[in-house]
Symmetry: C2
């Protein structure tokens, strides 16, 4: 059975996965890039933007698990663009002509539009559907491979609350954001459904993996 | 200059330092002992309740820093007893005749009472004072040694917000409590005043230390 996986999902110590004041200029609002610096420094993160080099330690080991075995991605509207992207018929995502997904990619939105075929194997499909239904569509497209749930926090929380996530990799960055969108709300006792493992990195971030109990 | 230190301050992944529904029977409410199991398993934790044995790894190394160099403790009313202890003239704390403080110990409360001298060097004093003022009293009593800020979350948060804490050891336990009293509220960008170090333990908890920048 194909699994549903979340990778490289970064939060602050106080549990915020994104800041306040999201815009086209500030995709993460007042959080800036602070939640993702750990990843940009890795070999995986640098390769995503076409640069060589990068660290190859524990941060990279976790980061690169983003790729193997994935046949489709599901993401929330908040990941695909800044607030209001639905009013821009030309918006094609943040990622330029060749987005880093390389599979069918399902964007959950109450205002669906026709699919957009990008370079490198990514096709954006727009779905107005609840989690389980969206997942069924993505799973079909994944052809037996796993489905990556790409975020943002609202979608990850909804899928976790619905018991639909098999592997959840969360990265705690040692900053106090103070405001934004929280991950953990409504997920009391989540750990009871998972085996949880923890390892900190010399960079100061802590990787937690939630693997669903058999 | 004597420092203000917080040790072994445990929170859940979602930032709660205590649960909901605190009472004489459930000092941590629905959290039970889950936030403190890591400490009870250490040599330090076992010795506190007069038992031999216990683990001696990274959890113990951090836990035992609770003791050396401390000349006084300051704690909130919420640590000294269950809700309503102020109405019980015979309440002498949770810890039996020989509490684990062994120094003058200042309990912040809006309803002060006369001091209580316990066995083993602990004397409970009751103070109705704001953080800086309470600290001045405790510092005087500490005679040049450090002052430990013992919790609970409201008091730790107030002292952090007032910039009065020099060393803060916080332990993130990989559970989602969902409700209770949060630590991080109102502390946005706290990390900017500190050098932060992170290490996870094989037990699954993560130790963070905030050391005030020189």
């Amino acid at each position: 059975m194909s699994r549903v996986r979340v990778h490289n999902f970064s939060i602050s110590l106080d549990g915020f996965a994104t800041g306040e004041g999201l815009s086209a200029e500030e995709p993460f609002g007042h959080a800036g890039e602070r939640l993702h610096e750990w990843m940009f420094a890795t070999r995986f993160g640098r390769a995503m933007s076409g640069r060589p080099g990068g660290t190859e330690g524990v941060d990279d080991a976790f980061a690169e698990r983003h790729e193997p075995g994935i046949g489709a991605e599901v993401m929330g509207a908040g990941k695909f663009g800044p607030p209001g992207w639905q009013d821009d018929p030309d918006w094609r995502g943040w990622w330029g002509p060749n987005p880093p997904f390389h599979t069918p990619t399902y964007v959950l939105t109450h205002r669906p539009r026709p699919p957009i075929e990008m370079e490198g194997g990514t096709t954006f499909h727009f779905l107005d559907a609840p989690p389980a239904e969206a997942l069924a569509v993505a799973r079909e497209a994944a052809g037996g491979r796993d489905v990556r749930l790409g975020g943002g926090p609202t979608v990850v929380r909804d899928f976790l609350a619905a018991g639909l996530v098999d592997h959840f990799h969360v990265v705690v960055v040692p900053i106090v954001l103070g405001r934004g969108v929280r991950l953990w709300d409504g997920l009391e006792a989540l750990e009871e459904q998972y085996d949880v493992a923890t390892v900190s990195s010399p960079t100061g971030v802590t990787h937690l993996t939630f693997g669903r109990r058999a």
